[in-house]
């Protein structure tokens, strides 16, 4: 017999301190968003690891495909002129 399906999966993002980005920390199963929030609090912030939590239905996340990583990210590789270190500025020139 197939086991009964799970509660939906939510991805959890925690802001560790004011001024920092929310960071993905893991996931929880919950019947709805408010339960996901409670579970996220219990599972991921038992030691004051956060000051703010986002919960997002996992099925609502659209992720890039690792097989397409080259097509997506390679074109940036040869554009070294986008980095400040590309430019040789004479050292007499200050504050640049």
């Amino acid at each position: 017999m197939q086991p009964k399906p799970d509660w939906p999966l939510y991805e959890i993002f925690v802001r560790a301190r004011g001024g920092l980005d929310h960071k993905h920390v893991g996931s929880v199963h919950a019947a709805d968003a408010s339960m996901a929030m409670e579970h996220a609090r219990d599972v991921y912030t038992r030691r004051q690891e956060g000051v703010s939590v986002w919960v997002v239905r996992s099925t609502d996340i659209v992720a890039s495909d690792p097989d397409e990583a080259d097509a997506l990210f390679e074109p940036a590789r040869d554009k070294i002129y986008r980095h400040p270190t590309f430019y040789d500025i004479p050292k007499e020139v200050e504050t640049l």
């Binding site: 086991p3 199963h29 030691r47 690792p66």
Partner: protein, 329 residues
């Protein structure tokens, strides 16, 4: 906590030779370069299956591991000890949750994982099939069992599978509290009355050998270690970790004034290591096969919890569906 060499007892991975050789070559090159493998990346079936087995056994162990200590929550000798024990047991539940999450990224559902535990198809660490007879057992578990778990888990923080490695980093941060509260409890008993010292020694006597067994069968009997090491699921062998545990723990026992229940235990100055006596592997095999003192009780407790929680899970879903309909209307 609590992985064990158990995954190797059950592992029957696809031969690596059956995989697409070009994909396998690229995968192994990434592993060699210490890159992490992430859920949507290509991976050999044997890697996926070994990880599902290992991470889920680990998760089940955290969950079943709540039972022996949970047994003492209502009888903790002070409010502070009770608060500490509740926090510790709650952490173990959290560890189970992190690990189930990591296992699910490999394409298995939580319901299937729970089903495997309840049906007896999945294993969990054999250490939890021993009973907690006295309050000192709570100290011995924190000190020895969580201590052995830390030994196992620190190298897993560098495991090649990203979600497992990240879960283990989180777990390891919390385990240190577990081990220290256990040692602190043992220290109080060891410095207490004769009766307190006696239960501390008795707990050490009963938990020492099962703790050594937590590292799994000896290397000579672990045929799958090589592949796990090559794919950086595992960084050290069972015997290496066990040795390290003994070397760390013997001086801690001496400080407590307690005696390790192993007459053959000695310091080998040449090797710079302790040498311990023979482990009774027949006891280990027997407990793994289901014949430990508490195997039946542990599984029954999980089945009862799952059954009596069923109406709550169903009601919560019905409630959520009703509110979703109301919001849509």
């Amino acid at each position: 906590m609590y992985t064990q060499g158990l995954n190797e007892l059950a592992a029957r991975p696809l031969a690596a030779g059956q995989e697409n050789p070009e994909l396998l070559r690229r995968f192994e090159a990434r592993i060699d370069a210490e890159e992490k493998i992430e859920p949507k990346d290509w991976m050999p079936e044997a890697y996926r299956q070994t990880l599902i087995r290992q991470i889920s056994q680990h998760a089940h162990s955290e969950i079943v591991g709540m039972l022996p200590e949970g047994n003492w929550i209502t009888r903790a000798p002070s409010l502070l000890r009770k608060s500490i024990l509740i926090a510790k047991v709650q952490d173990e539940g959290g560890h189970g949750a992190y690990l189930y999450s990591a296992a699910e990224t490999l394409g298995i559902s939580r319901a299937e994982l729970v089903d495997q535990l309840l049906s007896g198809a999945a294993k969990y660490s054999s250490i939890f099939n021993y009973p907690t007879l006295t309050w000192a057992d709570v100290g011995a578990i924190g000190w020895l069992v969580d201590g052995a778990a830390i030994m196992n888990q620190i190298p897993l923080c560098r495991c090649s599978y990203g979600p497992y490695s990240r879960a283990m980093i989180r777990v390891c941060k919390e385990e240190s509290f577990h081990q220290r509260q256990g040692y602190d409890l043992m220290l109080k008993l060891a410095r207490g009355s004769a009766a307190q010292r006696a239960i501390a020694q008795d707990a050490l006597n009963r938990w020492w050998w099962p703790s050594l067994m937590m590292f799994g069968p000896p290397d000579t009997a672990s045929p799958h270690t090589a592949l796990s090491v090559r794919w950086k699921i595992k960084r050290f062998t069972n015997d290496e970790l066990r040795q390290k545990f003994v070397d760390f723990t013997v001086p801690q026992a001496r400080f407590l004034g307690l005696e390790i229940p192993d007459p053959a235990l000695r310091w080998d100055a040449e090797r710079g290591q302790h040498v311990h006596g023979e482990i009774d592997w027949s006891e280990f095999q027997d407990v793994v096969r289901g014949n430990g003192p508490c195997n039946q009780d542990r599984l029954q407790a999980r089945r009862d919890a799952h059954e009596s929680g069923r109406w709550v899970r169903e009601a919560a879903l019905a409630h959520a569906a009703k509110h979703a309909r109301a919001a849509a209307a």
